[in-house]
């Protein structure tokens, strides 16, 4: 059969964010593909150098529309390290609670998108309905569904009232029931398994070669999770179960994310139980002493790394962000061969792209 090349993106029903691929196919077989990105580059790293640290927190929140909180957390951790201030324990716990809720809503969103791509729109509707519960919690405690503006340098901007704690606990209880239902579908639904099992498996060696992180790495049996390996407070006081699967195919990635959602909900409950009393913020000076610092944390999609250099003024001299999506994207051309055209959505969805994160 003749080789033809089909464009996927920058605008395509498959993509929620602009990314461009040209995929060579022969009939229903995929021969290979090339990738082009940079459509949502906004120059955020440069923009941070023109604003003060206080303003930068809000700018950095706009890097990603899904994992916005973990970006500001990582940035604040770095600035606080340079300033040498200790964040009150209650603030650390609230930060971690938001991180875990964000993971829950990010993973549920992803599960929905995958099921929509394999033609299982019912699961998409149900997971997005459940995801609203997580968004409701975050809106209830921070006032924002997606951009929470929770972090500030030196702590968090709001406290958790007893009524809010009750609301959070209630919604987490509901979410747990829903997530176990979704898990049942993923484990037992034969058509979903037929579409995902054995599709584009990736070996653990390849994962290490490409420095792939997050759920994709864990689905190939690579046991990495910064919440356990390099914990930032309060994760050093928590017992995080890292979930791995040996298969490395699309089904393992699906299962991993559902299991991680359950684990995150458990962590949320632990965090609420152990939440210490006290203030939620300390006063931080506007000018940051000279120096450089690297901070890392575990976003829903894997390790996010911030490099920050300060020249002693109230504006950062250089900020460099490395997001997990970029590492995972490099794996994409490897996966786009020996698959069917119908598997392209599964492969693309399986790596859980966040183009806005990768382009910045």
């Amino acid at each position: 059969m003749d080789k033809i090349s089909i464009p996927i993106g920058p605008h395509h029903p498959l993509l929620k964010e602009p990314l461009s691929m040209r995929i060579d196919i022969a009939g229903e077989r995929v021969l290979g593909g090339t990738l082009r990105m940079g459509y949502v580059h906004r120059g955020i790293e440069k923009m941070t150098a023109q604003r003060t640290y206080v303003q930068d927190v809000h700018l950095i929140e706009r890097i990603c529309g899904i994992c916005s909180h973990v970006h500001t957390t990582t940035f604040c951790l770095g600035v606080e390290k340079l300033l040498g201030i200790d964040v009150p324990p209650r603030a650390q716990y609230i930060r971690a609670l938001m991180c875990e809720l964000e993971r829950v809503h990010s993973h549920l969103l992803w599960l929905g998108i995958l099921s929509k791509h394999v033609g299982l729109e019912t699961v998409f509707m149900h997971t997005w309905h459940d995801r609203e519960l997580a968004l409701d919690i975050m809106e209830g405690i921070s006032g924002g569904r997606v951009s929470h503006a929770a972090n500030q340098i030196g702590g968090v901007r709001f406290d958790l009232s007893p009524e809010q704690e009750v609301m959070v606990k209630e919604n987490i209880g509901k979410l747990k029931a829903q997530v176990s239902g979704v898990l049942g579908v993923i484990e037992n639904e034969p058509a979903l398994r037929a579409r995902t099992q054995g599709v584009a498996p990736v070996s653990a060696d390849l994962i290490r070669d490409y420095c792939v992180v997050g759920p994709v790495a864990r689905a190939s049996g690579v046991d990495v999770d910064l919440r356990r390996d390099d914990p930032w407070p309060p994760y050093d006081q928590l017992d995080v179960n890292v979930i791995t699967r040996p298969e490395g195919d699309a089904w393992a990635r699906t299962l991993i994310r559902a299991l991680e959602t359950r684990e995150s909900l458990r962590l949320c409950e632990v965090l609420l139980r152990q939440m210490p009393e006290g203030p939620v913020t300390v006063r931080a000076p506007r000018k940051v002493p000279e120096g450089e610092v690297v901070t890392r944390s575990e976003a829903p999609r894997g390790e996010v790394l911030y490099y920050l250099r300060s020249d002693g003024s109230d504006k950062p001299a250089r900020l460099k962000v490395r997001t997990p999506t970029l590492a995972v994207l490099s794996l994409l051309p490897e996966q786009l061969s020996k698959i069917h055209v119908a598997d392209i959505p599964v492969v693309l969805a399986g790596i859980d792209l966040c183009i806005a994160c990768a382009d910045r």
């Binding site: 395509h12 009939g27 394999v118 509707m125 058509a191 579409r195 069917h340 959505p345």
Partner: protein, 308 residues
């Protein structure tokens, strides 16, 4: 002559089938929405969609065969409407003749072939992919479907749908004798209608809009109408072939029974589209030839043995 025109244009022809198609679309969308925890559209939504599409600008991509693109949906619509004329609606059938089952099968295949041609005629890459897929799908479901629906014909000893339907008056509804055949026929019908989970030729995440990617305006509206009328005609056919209860009852009750059977079929189609993930084209071909064809032959063999 007026009677003939009435049959063609009002009942059981154009107007009746188009209205049934729109009602089918609404019930289907509403049921699917309720399965998905949504509210679903109001009853006039299919009509509103159609009016909107018909009033939209018609874009013709450069290099495509304009006349072919206009003719294809019209030919498909007339083919399925004609097929509908031969199918008894609650026993009422003005044009029935011996062998109309074969004619119906032929006419019902026209939209699939037109869909393929529409993909080739409009030059888009996704259209060509979708068109090719629709033909592959056609080869997977059509053979088991043809074998399956010859089951009722063999049992009744006639190739006329009206005759098959009437023979269930004495023999009992065929769904009792051929439950496997009924299931296979439903699978075949889903494949024919390109509905979820067999919406492979028009899977949006894979081939955007399939053959209809480059269609817009009134032409797209006609295509949607074709899909809905085809669904209604297919449902009417299966109801007559397998659920002859409307022949067992009093004349007025027949209409009610027919309606209930129609709604039951819509429920079956909506449920399958809600709970199953889309198959891959190679999985469908495997399903068609490795599973459906042997099962259909087994069912047909049983029917023949029962007759002997």
């Amino acid at each position: 002559m007026f009677r003939g025109l009435f049959y063609l244009l009002i009942f059981p022809g154009l107007a009746f089938q188009v209205v049934c198609g729109l009602i089918f679309e609404w019930i289907d969308r509403k049921l699917l929405a309720r399965f998905q925890r949504r509210i679903g559209p109001p009853w006039y939504q299919p009509v509103a969609d159609l009016i909107k599409l018909f009033s939209k600008e018609d874009l013709v991509p450069l290099g495509s065969y304009d006349l072919v693109e206009v003719l294809l949906p019209l030919i498909s619509l007339s083919a399925v409407l004609t097929a509908g004329l031969y199918i008894p609606i609650a026993r009422f059938t003005p044009f029935s003749f011996e062998g109309d089952l074969i004619v119906i099968q032929f006419l019902m295949s026209v939209p699939t072939l037109a869909y393929y041609l529409a993909g080739i005629a409009s030059v888009g890459i996704y259209s060509i992919l979708g068109g090719g897929r629709s033909l592959l799908q056609y080869f997977s479901y059509e053979v088991p479907l043809l074998i399956t629906i010859s089951g009722p014909a063999v049992m009744a000893g006639s190739w006329s749908v009206a005759e098959i339907s009437r023979s269930q008056l004495t023999m009992g509804p065929f769904i009792i004798f051929q439950p496997l055949g009924f299931i296979l026929a439903v699978v075949g019908l889903i494949g024919k209608l390109k509905r979820d989970p067999l919406d492979i030729p028009s899977a949006s995440s894979e081939v955007v809009g399939g053959s209809l990617t480059e269609f817009s305006g009134a032409k797209l509206g006609f295509w949607y109408l074709v899909m809905n009328v085809q669904a209604v005609v297919g449902i009417f056919l299966l109801v007559n072939l397998y659920m002859g209860w409307s022949n067992l009852t009093f004349p007025f009750a027949a209409i009610l029974v027919f309606l209930v059977e129609f709604l039951l079929m819509v429920l079956i189609l909506s449920t399958t589209s809600a709970v199953f993930a889309r198959l891959r084209i190679d999985q469908l071909a495997g399903l068609g030839w490795r599973i459906l064809v042997p099962l259909a032959l087994t069912q047909l063999g049983f029917v023949i043995l029962m007759g002997v």
